[in-house]
């Protein structure tokens, strides 16, 4: 995916800030630090950032859009999405955890998660 220039600039600003968290006030490690150590640490930060971005996105989307009533894809009956389920997904850069609402159709004996085609938000 192409990153816009604006977003790239913002990421560079965030990286500048993060360097201080990572290496101290100077923003760089002591002279002589091995490249491999720098690469490992910065990659870990990148992975953690990617996971946080993904988990926050999923959580926010579920909170804002995923609490309405759904419709059973099997029998078409409306289903109130009253229960909350924790989701944990192994993603490319680590684990993403979030919670989302779901409902049950007692007739079809199926559970429905709303942010999927056919129920609730269809843009996902």
């Amino acid at each position: 995916m192409a990153i816009s220039n604006e977003l790239r600039k913002r990421l560079e600003d965030i990286a500048r800030e993060l360097r201080k968290n990572l290496w101290g006030p100077k923003g760089y490690p002591p002279w002589g630090t091995k490249f491999v150590d720098m690469e490992e640490k910065t990659a870990d930060v990148g992975d953690a950032l990617a996971c946080a971005l993904l988990a926050q996105t999923l959580q926010e989307q579920a909170e804002q859009e995923g609490h309405g009533a759904g419709k059973c894809g099997g029998c078409g009956e409306p289903i109130p999405l009253e229960e909350i389920a924790g989701r944990l997904l192994q993603a490319k850069r680590g684990e993403a955890a979030w919670q989302e609402s779901y409902g049950r159709c007692k007739r079809c004996r199926k559970a429905f998660f709303p942010s999927l085609p056919g129920v609730g938000n269809q843009s996902g």
Partner: protein, 406 residues
């Protein structure tokens, strides 16, 4: 969102898990590969379950496509569903080996295992679109040197048919280098079908896959296989409008064993060269006649005679050539620009065996079928998995079945 409620890995990670699970020598190795190469810490069991699940989804798709093909009216089977039709359509089939251990085996299965062990056969087919030219003259009338090279023939015979020809004297070795024979068709695209199902189900799968590739409308079509009866059952049932061709290499392995049987090398070798050239030229009847004379000289094998005796080897070759001679017009096949060996299916079986075959590897029926399907998919240059992964998010229904408390 394109993920199922039961998914525990993102689509990107799932794809990597399935790739590793289908290619590594074991699921344990797949877990190590992912850790090292993709920095993903995923257990062996999870990779195994994911690979099986995705393989089963592909099996369901395959079966649905096969059923749709079977429901078409017969004239449709002779048409191509696509505009692009191959110049030469070639179907090759063979079998591989793998071990099946069913936890809930039936009595019949248990009895079979007691007798024959866990080894079972899988069926593999190759669909090859090819390009070649038709010529009035045989583009390669002389048998290639590589097939009249003693050391090479010894090796080929041992590998393919398990025939052993004793090496009682040092043989001067000509440099026989494998090279493309004139007029040999060129493969454009290969796709693969593999299953543990029986030969009839396999034939149907192969026929449906060939139809999808537009093979029915090709003007030149060939079905190449070794002499196993099951192969020609599939040909007769689903590919009878294809030119049936016996794999040339299998044929000359029998000829080689019979020519060398009971003769010293310096006597047997020139006879083999002559017979091989006859077979190459489509004059199999001359070899059959020569073998009949040789059988008379040696006598018929007795009931309990060893398979390794010269009489048995000559009798085997004679029977094989008599049964297969209608599929051995190699000169005509070359003029039509058709393939005459099943080398592509032989190498495909080897590639699949690398994943599924091993004395330490045991599969359940469901696991074997899923993995064979994935192995075939990854070997297919038509990239069926690209389409599968692209469409998978749309097939996620968001539904999870649950069971009420008792």
């Amino acid at each position: 969102m394109g993920i199922s409620p039961d998914d525990t890995a993102s689509p990107v990670v799932l794809r990597k898990m399935v790739y590793a699970g289908s290619h590594a020598s074991s699921f344990e190795q797949a877990s190590k590969d992912l850790k090292e190469e993709a920095e993903l810490d995923i257990s062996t069991q999870r990779i195994m379950r994911a690979t099986k699940r995705i393989g089963q989804e592909r099996v369901e798709q395959r079966d649905a496509q096969m059923d749709a093909w079977a429901k078409l009216p017969l004239p449709e089977h002779q048409r191509s569903p696509r505009e692009q039709v191959p110049q030469v359509a070639c179907v090759e089939m063979d079998g591989g080996r793998l071990q099946i251990r069913n936890r809930k085996a039936s009595d019949e299965e248990k009895q079979r295992t007691r007798k024959a062990g866990f080894w079972r056969e899988d069926k593999v087919g190759c669909l090859l679109s090819m390009t070649s030219t038709v010529s009035e003259e045989d583009p390669c009338p002389e048998i290639p040197k590589t097939l009249v090279d003693l050391e090479r023939m010894r090796k080929i015979s041992r590998e393919i048919k398990g025939f052993c020809v004793p090496d009682e004297e040092e043989s001067p070795r000509d440099e026989a280098v494998s090279q493309r024979r004139p007029g040999q068709p060129e493969v454009l695209v290969r796709s693969v079908v593999a299953t543990r199902e029986d030969v009839h189900a396999f034939g149907k799968q192969l026929a449906a896959a060939a139809w999808q590739r537009g093979f029915a409308a090709a003007s030149r079509k060939a079905f190449v296989a070794d002499g196993q009866e099951a192969n020609w059952t599939v040909w007769g049932r689903y590919f009878s409008h294809y030119t049936p061709i016996l794999d040339f290499i299998h044929a000359i392995c029998y000829v080689f064993a019979a020519a060398m049987a009971g003769r010293p090398r310096r006597e047997g070798w020139p006879i083999y060269c002559q017979w091989a050239q006859w077979v190459w030229s489509g004059q199999v009847q001359r070899v059959i006649e020569a073998l009949a004379v040789r059988q008379q000289e040696l006598g018929l094998p007795t009931k309990d005679e060893s398979e390794e005796s010269p009489r048995s080897k000559v009798a085997d070759a004679l029977r094989y050539l008599e049964n297969q001679k209608s599929r051995m017009h190699y000169d005509a096949y070359r003029r039509q620009g058709l393939p005459i060996t099943s080398s592509h299916i032989e190498s495909t079986v080897k590639q699949i065996n690398r994943r599924v075959k091993g004395t330490e590897k045991f599969w359940s029926e469901g696991g074997a079928e899923a993995l064979l399907q994935l192995a075939a998919d990854y070997l297919s240059e038509t990239n069926p998995l690209t389409t599968f992964w692209k469409g998978r998010p749309d097939r996620a229904t968001g539904q999870r079945h649950y069971h009420g408390a008792a």
